[in-house]
Amino acid sequence: MKKTFMLLAIVTVLGMVAACAPQTVTVEVPVEKTVEVEVPVEQTVEVEVEVPVEVEVEKEIVIYNSYQSDPEPRAADEELVQRFEEKYPNIDVVHSTVAHEDFKQAIRAYLTASTPPDVMTWFAGNRARFFIDKGLIMDISDVWESEGWNESYPTGFRALSTVDGKQYFLPTSWYWWAVYYRKDIFEEYGLEPPETWEEFLQVCETLKDNGVTPITIGTKYRWTAAAWFDYLNMRVNGPDFHIDLMLGKEKYDDPRVLKVFTDYWAPLVENGYFIDDPAAYSWQEALQFLIDGDAAMYLMGDFLRDSYPDEEEAKLDFFRFPIIDSGVPIGEDAPTDGFFVAANAQHTEAAKMYLAFLGSVEAQQYYADTLGRLPTNMEVDTSGFTPVQLKGLELIQGADFVAQFYDRDTTPEMADEGMNGFMEFWDNPGSIEGILARLETVRQEIFESE
């Protein structure tokens, strides 16, 4: 007994010593570098370690927190950090990766802490706007100016990053959404990728007649259903109307919205063109049906290829969501990620330099080449792109408008209610009028109580 307590006591003391040991040292020393500062880590508690991390003498640091926890983006991130440090040997990047979902919680702490991360990853659109409007994000118009991004970035992306004439956001990567399909199954039944709505319905009918479920979808987490709303609404009513709806300027019980459900979406559900019980599956689980050949199409973002078994990928291709009304401008969903700087960042200079690097052709080229995602900087050389990337690029460049996806274009609360509404509709298409009435009430509460 005594021994155990002794052991525990020793461990506690060690623990406390470790806990009291100057954090600044451990934080500051990345694996490869040698620290010039003369502070041995094994110092006992009493020594007041005077190691200001923002050392004027030798090293500058910039604290960078990212949510890119998927394995490949994460590795790419780490590579870019290394390259930056090679370029600027007197700046250390303190890089921390946090799980994607958790980051959304942590950012609340980050933006209001007295020692925040300097540079952070985040989403463009309403999500960034939310923080910008509260003055928590640093104005980086000077970086946009000095790096010449006002010229080298497409207007659409620049507009995305601007609030009241100033730039706050650096958009760096995006991916497209499209209808992915099994080439081999289409071939088997003599089908061509449809371009119009009528053709699309034909394809669905043929597939169904041959025992293949036309479309798979996993709506367990609801956002996959929102994709259908985005596209149908943009195809039927045009992207301008869609964005105004997202911003709360149009009503949910508008007959134009109703039309989307009754004339286009409901028939798909009622004709059995979707798999059974989609709410039981996450998007990944529903992918199984496409892989197995039980279903032939999936409206999804390009990241679906990451989850697709390598040996099957050759059977996959994609086409633009069918045009319903050729007189309506074409809108596409292309969620964009990027970076921003905390308003009360402690290392402003270094942060801006890092940001400049992230938006540069070099960094973007690396990102595009390694991950197959599309860059925002137009000066990136696209000659090395795969056919898939070029096709995706073409898809978006052929669009008149780029949206960010339902839950990033509108406020989180509205998105939540809206997505619940879509799920309810899916279960019971006949109840859509009641659902839209309810959504309209919510919209008024949220947007008109400002």
């Binding site: 921390s96 942590a106 802490a113």
Partner: protein, 280 residues
Amino acid sequence: MTARKFFSSPWRVLGYAVLVVITLLWLVPFITAVLTSLRTNDDIMLRGFLALPKTITINSFVEAWKRGGLSKYLPNSFIITIPSLILTLFLSSLSAYALARFRFTGNRLIFFLYVGGTMLPFQVLMLPVFRLTDALGLYDTYWGLIGIHTAFQLGFCTFLLRNYMRTVPGEILESARIDGCGEFRIWWQIMMPLTLPAIAALATLEFTWIFNDYLWAIVLLRSDALKPVTAGLATLQGQYVMDWTVIVAGALLATVPTVLVFIFLQRYFIEGLTLGATKG
């Protein structure tokens, strides 16, 4: 008891069989987890979650160790958990003793305070505690986490130990007092050993809870260098890609310390060791 003696009656045999069946059913999810961690991700995508593995690989464990940065984060988990555990057990047994064996004004009130503090879901305390931690200058430090873990667990531990301490016969304490023992000595040398089963059980549970926490780590830490294992493992969950085999393998690896603690401590809340003490 020898096995033969134990299985003396048919009822016993039946009862034992039932126990075995229930235990095995109870373990099914766990076994599923282990099987999943031994498969490859493509295997799961191609053949579904519950098929038997075609190929067995420990690759997921290696991946989880590397990508989850376990060698970096495990020490952090211990640095956070062990001091919190010891502090909370120490402090709550002090409080419990006072509440259990003394009459004084405020006894009931303080007792209710301890119980009351356990009633809030900690998510709601998250932001107020974050603000407090930042104000104290403890943001992004080990002590920030140790502070909240110690404090937060005090409620439950005090509550439990107080109740347990009330079961100790008063005569033992009285005779010690008459002998002139100071209260602190009585607490340390008499009450604590008698409370050992409860403390051991508590230590097991608390270790599990504190070790498995990660939401506090997410909110109160900013740097990579201080992260506990749970936060490190959480990064295996991507935005779109869920590498199930690696995630589950990582989760299993993270259970090893808690299982070891259970095995080590369980004999303290099992018959035998304390029989002498209670009889005395």
